[in-house]
């Protein structure tokens, strides 16, 4: 049998072989003995990737959620047209996030993804259903109502499932060595259901912001009204999660409420309140762009809050980013290309947004 074993042994990977569950590490970082450590860079890239996904697909899933609340075909067509040219590339960030996690932190991938098998499965099925509805709605006018429902329910279910994944992630998983050791149903907890619901409101708020930006007249007024309801949901959710998380985990409580962290981190709640005020005010006056921008700001600050709570863990409470990292050569090989490609991707993605700038017209459908 072919047994091609290369003769040269690779540089010995850092101490992250299968080992018993690490004891409490108190956030102490095991710094690798390498000249160039790619882990911070990859943390940043993964962070940016997930961030772009959440905001970009967030608003177009949110538009999908609000699509179901539109009373007539004309507004539904406009709502659809507002995201038709861009939803594809927005969803691509999800692929990047999945791949970057697998490539840079494979141990985290191999533990987290099996742990949230069912919500991921539901999310993927909902995204497929949503994508197919999107295309067939234009083609199959005889069953348009069916595809309309498919689009809005697909968007809602996919969002809820993502929120559940987030909640399960913050709570952490049962791990044994290099494997997930819990059951497929561990993700069903009150906390995860709350985060699921929270994300539906959150994406709804982003979607409403996008629609306020892209539409006019009655449709815009309706988007503002939907936005206000979503905002109330979001703000309640931020409050609940901010109280619940430190109650659930003593480490997180210490991080936020010990001195001098409390002072250093004080800008986070202050900024959240400020952004909330800005969002509410702009949803009630005639500003076109502010609701969307402030909603993005709220997402960024919540994201930062979760990051502060969990840092430097990638499998919460068990493995740090450094524990879960792939071989240095793997991270280096991919980093070289990514550093070059990400700016290029951002540039041409920005260009395609620029092409479709301005208020959405009813006649831009497929020519």
């Amino acid at each position: 049998m072919i047994q091609k074993k290369s003769k040269r042994t690779p540089e010995r990977p850092r101490a992250r072989r299968a080992r018993p569950l690490p004891a409490k590490r108190k956030g102490r970082l095991i710094m690798p003995s390498l000249v160039l450590d790619f882990v911070p860079l990859w943390t940043l890239i993964l962070g940016i990737g997930v961030c772009f996904y959440v905001i970009l697909d967030g608003f177009d899933l949110g538009v999908g959620i609000l699509f179901g609340l539109q009373p007539d075909t004309a507004s539904r067509n406009l709502v659809m047209n507002s995201i038709a040219p861009i939803w594809d590339s927005n969803e691509t960030w999800l692929v990047l996030g999945g791949h970057a996690l697998l490539a840079a932190f494979p141990l985290a991938f191999a533990i987290i993804i099996p742990a949230v098998y069912f919500p991921i499965l539901v999310m993927l099925l909902a995204l497929i259903f949503r994508g197919v509805s999107f295309e067939f709605r234009y083609r199959d006018s005889a069953r348009k109502t069916f595809w309309d429902h498919g689009f809005s329910w697909g968007s809602t279910v996919a969002t809820f499932a993502q929120g559940v994944v987030l909640g399960a992630f913050i709570q952490g998983f049962q791990v044994d060595g290099r494997h997930f050791a819990g059951t497929s149903w561990d993700f069903i907890t009150p906390f995860a259901l709350v985060t699921g619901l929270a994300l539906v409101f959150g994406y709804g708020l982003l979607g409403a912001g996008w629609l306020v930006l892209k539409t006019e007249g009655d449709l815009q007024a309706r988007a503002r009204r939907h936005g206000r309801w979503c905002f109330l949901g979001v703000f309640a959710a931020i409050g609940i999660v901010s109280v619940w998380t430190p109650l659930m985990n003593a480490g997180i409580a210490t991080r936020w409420f010990s001195w001098p962290n409390m002072l250093l981190l004080a800008p986070v709640p202050v900024l959240t309140a400020l952004l909330g005020w800005l969002e509410w005010r702009s949803l009630n006056n005639s500003s076109d762009a502010t609701p969307f921008i402030a909603a993005i700001g709220l997402f960024l600050i919540s994201y930062l809050g979760i990051g502060i709570s969990l840092w430097p863990m990638i499998v919460p409470h068990v493995y740090t980013l450094w524990d879960a990292a792939s071989a240095p050569s793997t991270q280096a090989f991919l980093a070289v290309g990514t550093l070059f490609l990400l700016p290029v991707i951002l540039m041409y993605s920005a260009w395609s947004y620029w092409v479709f700038r301005g208020k959405v017209k009813s006649d831009i459908g497929y020519h």
């Binding site: 594809d88 987290i112 197919v132």
Partner: protein, 396 residues
């Protein structure tokens, strides 16, 4: 057979990738075809290419959207069902997947919006560039994903430490021994598949008397393309076969249902491979031809399946029949191309009813050939996920 997690995971993977591969098989070819039409329209300025392109862009958008959403499932399956495989191979394979996303998916997705909706919003050259970028993106995607697949078939440039793979030489990993052949054979296969769909639709339009001018232009142009592509594909397939003989002899032996090692082996045209008794039943074979085709030498040696223990062999019947389906369709397609030359010479290409009807019937066969070829190469790799190194049973 028990419905254990391994079997269920394999069935799920087959089901998902089986549907998924049909979409790229069509969109990779169609993207290039659309770029060609947009280019002809841009440089020659004939309105007819513009109309043909518009027709296919609509179909492309549906196929592409479904390709994207079914493709998103793929990476997550590695985590949900194949987590041990992911943990073992991630250092080597994951950058290839990630590069596919970075170079291909974003390029396709971003420029697709402009291609579909931007004709009146951007200058004409920019629209042509968008078409080119979408086509280029689909080819880059094929490049990376087939590199990853080929590495699983013919691993190179790695070190195996404690059951996990570590990269040594990225060039050797990306350009592993079977990659160039697999890339060529697969992409040309996608082109041929798409071209026969275009030919079938053109024949249908001509027979219905709808848009006859466009139908005829499509039929003629695409048959010229096929005149190059089909023989090229057969040549590439032959080269791919030589490569398989060198690097994956068990797969080749299974494809040809050869049990005993020997020289001057016959070519088995048809048989019922009997794995229990390690022999073929009802074999129809041509003497010597096996060695000649497989090694390009009458005295070439082919190693038979009995050289390997039973637990090292792939199942025989599936690759054996799948391969014959693929080659059969390939020969049928060659026949269609040769017939088109004769009809062209007679000046009857557009009004020969039997030929147009045959074109319609052959139209979907490319997809069958793609699935058959994929089955041959993937089942032929068993019982391994990484050939000779990581067993499928240890990957779940």
């Amino acid at each position: 057979m028990d419905l254990d997690p391994l079997l269920l995971s394999r069935l799920q993977f087959v089901w998902v990738i089986g549907w998924h591969i049909l979409l790229p098989a069509f969109t990779v070819g169609l993207a290039s075809y659309i770029a060609l039409l947009e280019g002809l329209h841009f440089f020659i300025g004939r309105e007819i290419y513009f109309r043909i392109s518009g027709f296919w862009i609509k179909i492309f958008s549906v196929a592409f959207g479904m390709g994207v959403v079914s493709g998103i499932v793929m990476p997550f399956q590695f985590g949900t069902n194949w987590s041990r495989y992911s943990d073992a191979t991630a250092n080597v394979l994951s950058p290839l997947f990630a590069y596919e996303g970075l170079t291909a998916f974003f390029l396709e997705a971003a420029f697709l919006g402009v291609l579909l909706f931007g004709r009146n919003l951007v200058p004409r050259w920019a629209h042509f560039v968008a078409a080119l970028m979408v086509a280029f993106g689909t080819l880059l995607s094929s490049f990376w994903i087939l590199s990853a697949n080929s590495w699983m078939q013919t691993p190179a440039g790695y070190a195996l430490v404690d059951g996990r793979f570590y990269p040594n030489d990225w060039f050797a990993i990306v350009f592993n021994p079977s990659f160039p052949y697999r890339l060529g054979h697969t992409v040309v296969g996608f082109y041929v598949t798409t071209a026969f769909v275009v030919v079938g639709v053109a024949a249908w339009l001509i027979r219905r008397g709808r848009s006859v001018a466009e139908g005829s232009r499509r039929l003629s142009m695409t048959l010229w393309l096929l005149t190059v592509l089909v023989p090229l594909q057969i040549l590439l397939g032959d080269e791919h076969g030589l490569n398989t003989l060198e690097h994956q002899p068990t797969k080749l032996a299974a494809i040809e249902a050869h049990w005993d090692t020997g020289r001057r082996v016959p070519l088995v045209l048809f048989a019922l491979p009997d794995e229990q008794n390690e022999a073929n039943r009802y074999a129809v074979q041509v003497p010597w031809l096996g060695s000649l085709i497989l090694t390009h030498d009458l005295n070439g040696e082919i190693r038979g399946l009995k050289e390997w223990q039973r637990d090292q062999r792939p199942p025989v019947a599936i690759p054996f029949f799948a391969f014959r389906v693929m080659v059969g369709i390939g020969l049928l397609m060659l026949g269609m191309v040769v017939a088109s030359w004769w009809l062209r010479w007679k000046g009857r290409l557009y009004d020969s009813v039997w030929y147009l009807r045959s074109c319609q019937l052959v139209a979907p066969l490319g997809f069958v050939a793609v699935l058959a070829g994929w089955t041959t190469t993937e089942v032929g790799r068993q019982p391994w996920t990484v050939y000779g190194l990581l067993r499928t049973a240890d990957s779940v």
